[in-house]
C-alpha cells in the first residue's frame, strides 16, 4: 500500500499503487437540477459502443431515479452498508475546508481501500471493499423509475402537503442521477485487477481495460464502488466506458482536430452536461486554471461535487446537487459540500449564471471562457435575498483557441415568420 493524497477527502489515504497523475484529467460536471431522465445519453452511448452480442445488459451510461433506482440494483446502498459495517459510526467528516487540498474539510472515516484488508473472502483479502452484483441486479436497469421517496410519515404512495396558506409543499422527492465511469484518480477497478489489465492513460486520465490482458476474473466489477465495469459473457472479458477517447483525442472527423465531448455529453438534450480536460498538479490536485469552466464550477463556485467522495477513489465526475432534495441525503451522496452548493445554486451570482450557459452549447470541449458584461435586465428577491440578472455574454474557446461558443445569459427569443404559420 502507498500513501496518496486524496484532495476530495482532504487527507492522505492508502492505495495499492504509488500515485501517478495524467497531464490533464478527463472530468465532467452534471447539473442534476436539469436532468429530465430522457435517457438520450444512455442511448447515444449504447448505439455507439455496446450494441453487440453479449452486451445486451451492458449500459456504460445510465440514468437512474434516486433514491430507489440503481444499476445494478441498490449499488450505492449496498456499499454504504458494507462501509458502515466495517467502520460502524466512523464515516464522518470534519475539519475546516481548505482550497484545492481540502475543499470539503477532512474525511475521518475509512475508504474502500482502507477497510479492504479486513474483508476476507474465500479468495483472501480484497484490495478494495466491494461485492459482485448478481445477474438479477444487472437486469432491469431502470427499475424504480420515477418512484418518489416516501412521504415524511413514511407511507408508501402518499403525497404529503403542509402549510396550506402558503400553497402546497411537496414532502416527497426524487431526482435523476446520470452516471458513467468516473475515470477515477485512484480507480478501484485498476487496484483490484489481478492481471494488471486496467490502466489509466497518462495523457487524459481515461481508465481503460486491456482486452488482451483481461481474463474475466471480475475483480474489477467487485471492487468498482460505482459498478461501472461490466462482464461480457461472449468474450469472457470485462468492458467499461472508454471515455469516447477518439473524440477526446480530437480524432473524430467532426472535431476539426480539437477535443470533443463524449457521445453521452454531446447528446444530452437537457444541456445538463459539461465535459472537459483539467490540468493537474504534481500532487494530484487541480492546477489553478481560473477561466476553465470545470475548475470554476468545482473549485471557485463549488457548486459541483464528487459522487460519494467517501469511497476514496477520487471520482472525476462532479454533480450540481438537485436543490429540492433533503440535505441529509445530499450530504451522504456528495459529501459535506452539499449545503453550500445548493445555497450557491439557488442564489446564483453573475458569473455562475453565465458559466451555466456553456452546458450543452457545443460538442467541442471548452478549455477557457471569458465573460463580456451586459446590462441588468431583471431584479427580484429570491427567498429573502436580492437577485439581479445581467444579460452577460459568455464566450468559450476550444483547446486551440478557436471560439466555439458565444451565448448570452438571457436565451435568445426566436419568432417564427408568418410564412410558417399553420405549417408542419
Amino acid at each position: 500500500m502507498s500513501n496518496v493524497l486524496n484532495w476530495q477527502l482532504g487527507r492522505d489515504m492508502e492505495y495499492p499503487y504509488a500515485a501517478a497523475y495524467p497531464d490533464r484529467q478527463f472530468a465532467f460536471v452534471f447539473n442534476l437540477n436539469r436532468c429530465i431522465g430522457c435517457q438520450s445519453c444512455t442511448m447515444a452511448c449504447k448505439s455507439t459502443w455496446t450494441f453487440n452480442k453479449g452486451q445486451e445488459a451492458m449500459w456504460w451510461n445510465n440514468v437512474e431515479t434516486k433514491p430507489y433506482g440503481g444499476y445494478p440494483h441498490h449499488w450505492d446502498v449496498k456499499l454504504l452498508d458494507l462501509l458502515g459495517q466495517a467502520n460502524p459510526g466512523g464515516q464522518t467528516w470534519n475539519g475546516e475546508p481548505r482550497d484545492l487540498t481540502a475543499p470539503y474539510g477532512q474525511f475521518k472515516g475509512k475508504t474502500i481501500f482502507e477497510v479492504a484488508k479486513t474483508n476476507i473472502s474465500p479468495e483472501g483479502a480484497q484490495r478494495a471493499l466491494g461485492y459482485l452484483p448478481t445477474d438479477e441486479e444487472w437486469a432491469a436497469p431502470n427499475r424504480f423509475e420515477d418512484n418518489p421517496s416516501a412521504s415524511e410519515k413514511g407511507r408508501k404512495g402518499q403525497m404529503a402537503f403542509s402549510g396550506g396558506e402558503l400553497g402546497p409543499q411537496h414532502k416527497t422527492w426524487f431526482f435523476y442521477l446520470a452516471r458513467l465511469c468516473n475515470h477515477c484518480s485512484y480507480p478501484a477497478c485498476l487496484a483490484a485487477c489481478p492481471r494488471n489489465a486496467i490502466y489509466k492513460r497518462p495523457e487524459d486520465g481515461i481508465v481503460l481495460v486491456d482486452q488482451e490482458r483481461c481474463r474475466g476474473y471480475r475483480k474489477c466489477m467487485e471492487a468498482c464502488p460505482y459498478k461501472k465495469t461490466h462482464y461480457r459473457g461472449t468474450t469472457r472479458t470485462t468492458e467499461k466506458c472508454i471515455g469516447c477517447f477518439p473524440r477526446v483525442e480530437g480524432r473524430d472527423p467532426q472535431s476539426g482536430g480539437v477535443p470533443m465531448q463524449t457521445r453521452c455529453m454531446a447528446a444530452c438534450v437537457g444541456h445538463i452536461r459539461l465535459h472537459g480536460l483539467v490540468q493537474m498538479n504534481a500532487d494530484g490536485t487541480w492546477k489553478e486554471d481560473r477561466q476553465h469552466p470545470l475548475y470554476y464550477l468545482v473549485h471557485v463556485a463549488k457548486v459541483a461535487l464528487p459522487l460519494y467522495p467517501q469511497f476514496g477513489t477520487e471520482p472525476n465526475g462532479y454533480y450540481i446537487p438537485p436543490r429540492w432534495v433533503p440535505l441529509e441525503y445530499l450530504r451522504q451522496m456528495f459529501g459535506p459540500g452539499a449545503d453550500a452548493a445548493v445555497e450557491r445554486y439557488a442564489h446564483p451570482d453573475r458569473e455562475l449564471l453565465a458559466v451555466l450557459q456553456l452546458f450543452g452549447k457545443d460538442a467541442r470541449m471548452c478549455f477557457r471562457y471569458e465573460i463580456k458584461p451586459g446590462p441588468k435586465i431583471f431584479e427580484t428577491t429570491i427567498r429573502g435575498k436580492k437577485f439581479e440578472l445581467f444579460d452577460d455574454t459568455i464566450i468559450g474557446y476550444a483547446k486551440n483557441g478557436t471560439r466555439i461558443v458565444e451565448t448570452k445569459v438571457e436565451e435568445p427569443l426566436h419568432v417564427r415568420g408568418t410564412q410558417h404559420a399553420n405549417s408542419i
Partner: protein, 310 residues
C-alpha cells in the same frame, strides 16, 4: 433420456468452484484450469472462442464432480428416464426463478428443465435436497397415476380465486412430495415440522382436527394425485354445490364467496321480485350476499334503469 447442461450454468458453477467456494479442489487442478482457459483467449473468432470455453468448462464440470452430482440424483427417479426425451439443467436468474418445469412439444415429446442457481454447487448436501424435491415434482408430472395437468382453472373461478387455488395447490403438492421423499429416506428441502407449520398457516381456517387429518393424508402420500389436490386447493371447505347460506359459500347471484349473508325477509319486496326476474332459478332459501342485497335494494328504490347505477 438425454442429460443437458446449459453453458451459462456450467461456466458459472465451475468459476465459483475455481474461486474457492467449493472446498476440496486441489491447487494444481486450479492451475490447470487457468492454463486451459488461457488458451481459449487466443481464439479470435467469437463463436469458436465460445465453443472452446464451453468445452473447457464442461470438462471441469465433470472433473470436479458437479455433473455426477446431478446425474446421480436423477437416478433416484427412474420414472423420468423413459418419460422424458431430455432433462436439462439451466442457470436460474435468481431465487424466485429456481424450480422444475415440464415442456411438451408438438410431437408430444416431453422435456424436463430444472433451473438452479450456481451457488448451489458450493455444497453437495443442500444441492441434493433441492434436486430431490424438484425432480420429484417432475416425476409426478410424468406419472400417469398422478394425472398431472397444468390447468388449474375451474369453472366459475375469478382471477383472485385462481391465484389462491394455485398457491394452495403449490403448498399441498410440496407437502405431499416432501412426505413421500421422507418415506423413501431421501433428503429434501423441508422436514415434517416445517411443512406442518406452512400447512397450518395456509389452511388456518380449517378446524384443527380436519387439518391434522388432511396433513397426515398428504404427508403419507395418500393424496398423491393431481385431482384430489386440486379439489382441496380450489374448495378446501367443501362448499362447492352447497345452495344454502353457509359462511364462505358462493352467493347464488354474483358467484363471489361471502361470509356476509342477508336474510331474505329483510329485502324489500320489490327487490325480491327483481331478483326473481333476473334469476328465475333462485329461491328464498338460497339467500343472497350482503353486497347483492344492497344493490338490489338500491336499484329497486330508484326510477331510472339499473344499468345507470351499475
Amino acid at each position: 433420456m438425454q442429460l443437458l447442461f446449459e453453458d451459462d450454468l456450467v461456466e458459472a458453477a465451475v468459476r465459483l468452484c475455481a474461486a474457492g467456494t467449493r472446498s476440496g479442489i486441489p491447487a494444481l487442478q486450479l492451475r490447470r484450469y487457468d492454463v486451459e482457459r488461457e488458451r481459449c483467449y487466443a481464439v479470435l473468432d467469437p463463436d469458436e472462442r465460445a465453443t472452446a470455453f464451453a468445452r473447457v468448462q464442461l470438462s471441469w464440470f465433470g472433473e470436479w464432480g458437479l455433473e455426477s452430482r446431478l446425474t446421480s440424483v436423477a437416478l433416484h427417479f427412474p420414472m423420468l428416464q423413459p418419460a422424458l426425451t431430455a432433462l436439462a439443467f439451466r442457470k436460474a436468474r435468481g431465487r424466485n426463478d429456481e424450480g422444475a418445469e415440464l415442456y411438451r412439444d408438438a410431437q408430444g415429446r416431453r422435456r424436463g428443465i430444472v433451473a438452479l442457481r450456481p451457488e448451489r454447487f458450493a455444497d453437495d448436501a443442500p444441492l441434493t435436497r433441492f434436486l430431490h424435491h424438484e425432480l420429484a415434482h417432475l416425476a409426478d408430472m410424468v406419472d400417469p397415476a398422478f394425472g398431472y395437468s397444468p390447468e388449474l382453472e375451474q369453472t366459475g373461478q375469478t382471477a383472485s380465486q385462481l391465484r389462491l387455488t394455485r398457491e394452495r395447490y403449490r403448498l399441498l403438492w410440496d407437502v405431499s412430495i416432501d412426505g413421500r421423499l421422507v418415506q423413501r429416506r431421501l433428503e429434501t428441502v423441508a422436514d415434517e415440522v416445517q411443512r406442518r407449520q406452512e400447512f397450518n398457516r395456509g389452511f388456518a381456517f380449517l378446524p384443527e382436527e380436519r387439518r391434522d387429518e388432511l396433513f397426515a393424508a398428504l404427508w403419507h402420500g395418500r393424496l398423491a394425485r393431481h385431482h384430489p389436490l386440486l379439489d382441496i386447493a380450489a374448495d378446501p371447505r367443501g362448499l362447492r354445490g352447497r345452495h344454502d347460506p353457509v359462511p364462505g359459500a358462493a352467493c347464488p347471484l354474483c358467484g363471489f364467496a361471502t361470509f356476509q349473508w342477508t336474510e331474505v325477509d329483510r329485502l324489500r319486496p320489490a327487490a325480491r321480485d327483481r331478483i326473481r326476474a333476473d334469476f328465475p332459478a333462485w329461491c328464498d332459501r338460497e339467500s343472497v350476499c350482503a353486497r347483492c342485497a344492497e344493490m338490489y335494494d338500491s336499484i329497486t328504490g330508484l326510477e331510472y334503469p339499473a344499468t345507470v347505477v351499475l
